[in-house]
Structure formats: structure tokens, C-alpha cells
């Protein structure tokens, strides 16, 4: 199965039509647990972006050498390696950010979205396409985290990026993990609605 999409289409697909959080509904735990503020979302999103791109390219480069029966352990090993490298690099060069997100970084090993992209895409396609796909998926995750973080931070603590904008806390409930599901659910509905509207508009032409 050869890939017939251009690099831009691959990126757009990761962000919109196959957004990992809103469309594929993968990696919901971190999305719900960590996205209480925009900054948290951005930091985790960037870390996932790097791991996704590196792992996708690595698997794609070695795709002919991976025995089909042990592909999942190999994926896990690859992801774990890159997570460790990023973890070490962050601890060494960005100690302040690391102090805040250290435990989340280690969790990336178990993110479904990364394994899933390796299985669905990287193990079949060329390294170049895998790079763009990884980038798109990582960006999609980042965008998802930021959007959820924005809603939850604004409604939960009345602030954006730590700056108090509302001056009061509208719904404290939104910073609790369970509210994450509500936000994700509403966002999913919103994304589906956009897609439907887009298709209808296209159909009318």
C-alpha cells in the first residue's frame, strides 16, 4: 500500500480529519488527566511530538528488519528509547520545565497513539512520509491538548496561561479529571459537526 498523500496533506490529516484525541479517541488518559492548564498541554504535546516523530522515522527505517511476530515489543522498545533520551535531555538542559512535567514524560511510553501510528503507518511507508505523518499526529495531539487545556483552565480557574482573565472561578469542577471527559466529548461533537457541515456544503456545490 503506497502512500499517495503529500506532506501537507499528511500533516493536515493528523490535525483535522484524524486528530488523535478528537477523531481517533486515543491517549485519552493523558488528555484528560494532564490538560488542566494550557501550559501543561503544550509541554506534554511537544514531548509527544518529538517521541512520535523520532519513533516513526526509526521504525520506518528498520521496517524490513523487524520480524512481524515481534513488532509490538520492538515498537515499545523504540518508544522507550526515545522517551528515555528526551527525558535525559530535558533533565539536563531544561531543569525547570522538567521539574514540572518529569513524571508525564515517562508516561509517554504507554501512549496508545504512538504505538498505533507505528503499526498503522510507519511500518509500511517510507521514512519521509512517516516523518510527516508523525509530525501531523504529534501536532494534532498538541493542538488537542491546548484546546482542552484552554477550555478547562478558563472555566476551571478563570485564567489563561496562568494570567487571571476572568477574576473569578466559574466552574471549579472543570479542573477535576472527570471534567476532562466532558470537554473531550464536547470537542468531539464539535469536530464532527464541522466535518458534517463541510461535507454538506461541498455536496451542495
Amino acid at each position: 500500500m503506497a502512500n499517495d498523500k503529500s506532506s501537507m496533506q499528511l500533516i493536515a490529516r493528523g490535525i483535522l480529519s484524524e486528530n488523535p484525541i478528537f477523531k481517533l479517541a486515543l491517549s485519552m488518559c493523558p488528555a484528560v488527566g494532564i490538560s488542566t492548564t494550557v501550559i501543561n498541554g503544550v509541554m506534554l504535546g511537544i514531548a509527544v511530538l518529538f517521541v512520535q516523530v523520532f519513533s516513526s522515522v526509526t521504525i520506518s527505517l528498520f521496517k524490513n528488519k523487524i520480524h512481524p511476530r515481534i513488532r509490538i515489543p520492538t515498537y515499545t522498545l523504540t518508544i522507550a528509547t526515545w522517551v528515555t533520551v528526551i527525558d535525559l535531555a530535558l533533565a539536563a538542559y531544561l531543569p525547570e520545565a522538567y521539574a514540572k512535567m518529569g513524571i508525564f514524560v515517562k508516561l509517554i511510553v504507554a501512549f496508545a497513539i504512538i504505538t498505533m501510528r507505528l503499526e498503522m503507518f510507519a511500518c509500511k511507508e517510507s521514512a519521509q512520509d512517516s516523518f510527516w505523518d508523525g509530525l501531523g499526529m504529534g501536532l494534532g495531539f498538541l493542538v488537542g491538548m491546548v484546546v482542552i487545556g484552554l477550555v478547562r483552565e478558563l472555566l476551571g480557574s478563570g485564567a489563561i496561561l496562568g494570567y487571571d482573565v476572568l477574576g473569578f472561578k466559574p466552574l471549579l469542577f472543570f479542573i477535576l479529571p472527570s471534567a476532562g471527559f466532558f470537554v473531550v466529548g464536547l470537542m468531539m461533537a464539535f469536530f464532527n459537526w464541522i466535518e458534517l457541515a463541510y461535507k454538506q456544503a461541498k455536496g451542495k456545490k
Partner: protein, 294 residues
């Protein structure tokens, strides 16, 4: 059968590859990481003494590290102290009743002493064969123009889940100047609140006498006290309120009584043990007329 061999070989090769990548990343980043840890430690120490990046410590002040080792041979145990003397380091061995057994000057680089592994090697070299030296803890004696002004104590004790690592600052009379939680794994929102100012600052200003029977009370923290501890109000008002509550016990954290208690007990035992040990060490130093830097 053939499949199994290919699988084994490929898995092994990929593990080796992964290990190489991780290993090289570790080698590249390790130095910077260690440096960060040192910087962080220094920052915590200065913060406890009331200094920061905007307010650097004066030149007259100096921090002297004292490392305590447990030295044991087949029959008995001794306490070994690695201290900075007037020139170079001194390794002092005391028996359990405080009598000086041995006193050696040590020629070693200061940078080597800062690294735990290197230091352990040096100390084990000094105590000689047949004896084993184990690192116990380290304290820092802060001097200003040669006068002792504070002690910084490192300590670890059990919390609700795992260990809680703290650093304490006391003045020469063992009145607490501050408490910093360095590491812990308590539950977020409950036990993890021990990190917060409103809990930590309750220990500030407790004298040694108060500390001896300091207890944890399960009462709600008064609002004004909370604001004063958090530093939300003007410094003058806060000082008044802090004085008013100064002789109270520690208010337990809501839903985390065990964590609060373990911090309280841990802090108490660290200070009490240190006061006892320092007394023995000072007596021994005075008796032997050993010149030290602090």
C-alpha cells in the same frame, strides 16, 4: 525453529542498539544533570538562609560541610566525621561514647569530596582494611566571619507512602529557620500539600524547647494564620499574626494527618539527633584542640 532464532537474534540486536542510544544520551547529558542538581541544592540552601539570586550571600559567609560516616569493624561501631579543618580536610573517628579514637588529616581535592562515590572511596581508604565506612548524612555549618550563624541539616524519613527528603535550617540555638521538602511521593492534593508554604512555614521560628514536644493537632487552620503563612498579606501584619500563633502546635493537613505527623516527627528527630551529635563533636574537638574551619 528457525523463526525462534531469528526472533532472538533480532530482539537482541535491537535491545543492544537501544541500549547504545540510551547509554550515549546518558553520557552526554549526565554532566549537565549533575550540575543542575548541585545548582538546585545550592539554591535551596541559600533560600533557607534567606538569600536568593537577587540577594547574594556576603563574602564573609562560608558553608562548611560535615559528613558523618558509620565506621564498623568486626567487633564494634564508630562514628567518623569528615570535616574541613583550617587547611585541608580532617577525618575524625569517635567511639559511641564520644571518645576520640583517631584523627587524621586528609589530602583530597574539594571537588572530589562533593561527589558521593569519590568521597566514599577516599573515606574507605582512610579507615583502612578490615573496617567499613558507610555514609550516614551530611550537615552544613554556616559561618559569618568565623562565627556560626546557622546549620543546614539534610534528612530523610518515612512518610505516608515512601520517603520524604527534607532540608532544614536552624540557628545555633537550634531554633528552626526554615524547612524545605526536597523529595516525596505523597498523594497529590492530600499529602503532597506538605510542600506548600502554609504547612512548611508553620515550623518556622519554633525553638528547640518547643520542638521537643511539638505535636500535630487536627483542627482547621485559621484563615488569618493561613494568609500570613502564605505571605498573602503585608509583612508587618503577617509578623504579628505569626507571633500570635507562634507557640501553637502544627495544624494537620486536611485528609493527610499521617503525612503531617511524619513530617513533624521527622523534623523533630533530625534536630534532636543533630543537637546531641554536635554537642559530642564539639566536646571532642575542644578536648583534642583540633582546629576546624567553623
Amino acid at each position: 525453529m528457525k523463526d525462534i532464532f531469528t526472533i532472538i537474534i533480532r530482539l537482541t540486536v535491537s535491545c543492544i542498539l537501544a541500549a547504545t542510544v540510551m547509554g550515549s544520551a546518558f553520557i552526554v547529558t549526565n554532566k549537565a544533570k549533575k550540575h543542575n542538581e548541585h545548582v538546585n541544592e545550592q539554591k535551596v540552601r541559600y533560600a533557607l538562609l534567606g538569600y536568593s539570586a537577587d540577594k547574594p550571600i556576603p563574602d564573609s559567609m562560608a558553608l562548611h560541610e560535615v559528613y558523618r560516616y558509620i565506621v564498623s569493624d568486626k567487633q564494634s561501631q564508630y562514628i567518623g566525621y569528615l570535616l574541613s579543618g583550617k587547611e585541608g580536610f580532617i577525618f575524625l573517628t569517635l567511639d559511641l561514647s564520644g571518645k576520640v579514637i583517631d584523627n587524621k588529616s586528609v589530602e583530597v581535592d574539594e571537588a572530589k569530596v562533593l561527589e558521593k562515590e569519590e568521597r566514599d572511596k577516599v573515606v574507605n581508604g582512610i579507615v583502612g582494611a578490615g573496617k567499613d565506612a558507610k555514609f550516614a548524612d551530611q550537615t552544613i555549618i554556616v559561618t559569618n566571619n568565623g562565627e556560626r550563624i546557622a546549620y543546614l541539616l539534610d534528612g530523610k524519613f518515612t512518610g505516608f507512602k515512601t520517603f520524604i527528603g527534607v532540608m532544614l535550617a536552624t540557628d545555633p540555638k537550634f531554633t528552626l529557620l526554615g524547612l524545605e521538602i526536597l523529595e516525596h511521593e505523597e498523594d497529590p492534593g492530600l499529602g503532597a500539600e506538605i510542600e506548600q508554604d502554609y504547612f512548611r512555614n508553620q515550623f518556622k521560628g519554633k525553638t528547640f524547647e518547643q520542638l521537643k514536644d511539638l505535636d500535630v493537632v487536627k483542627e482547621p487552620l485559621p484563615d488569618e494564620y493561613f494568609q500570613a503563612l502564605e505571605g498573602d498579606i503585608a509583612a508587618e501584619d503577617a509578623a504579628k499574626i505569626l507571633k500570635k500563633y507562634g507557640d501553637k502546635d502544627i495544624y494537620a493537613l486536611t485528609g493527610a494527618t499521617i503525612s503531617s505527623r511524619s513530617v513533624n516527627n521527622g523534623v523533630k528527630s533530625i534536630v534532636k539527633k543533630f543537637a546531641y551529635r554536635l554537642n559530642i563533636l564539639d566536646t571532642a574537638l575542644a578536648e583534642q584542640k583540633i582546629e576546624v574551619a567553623f
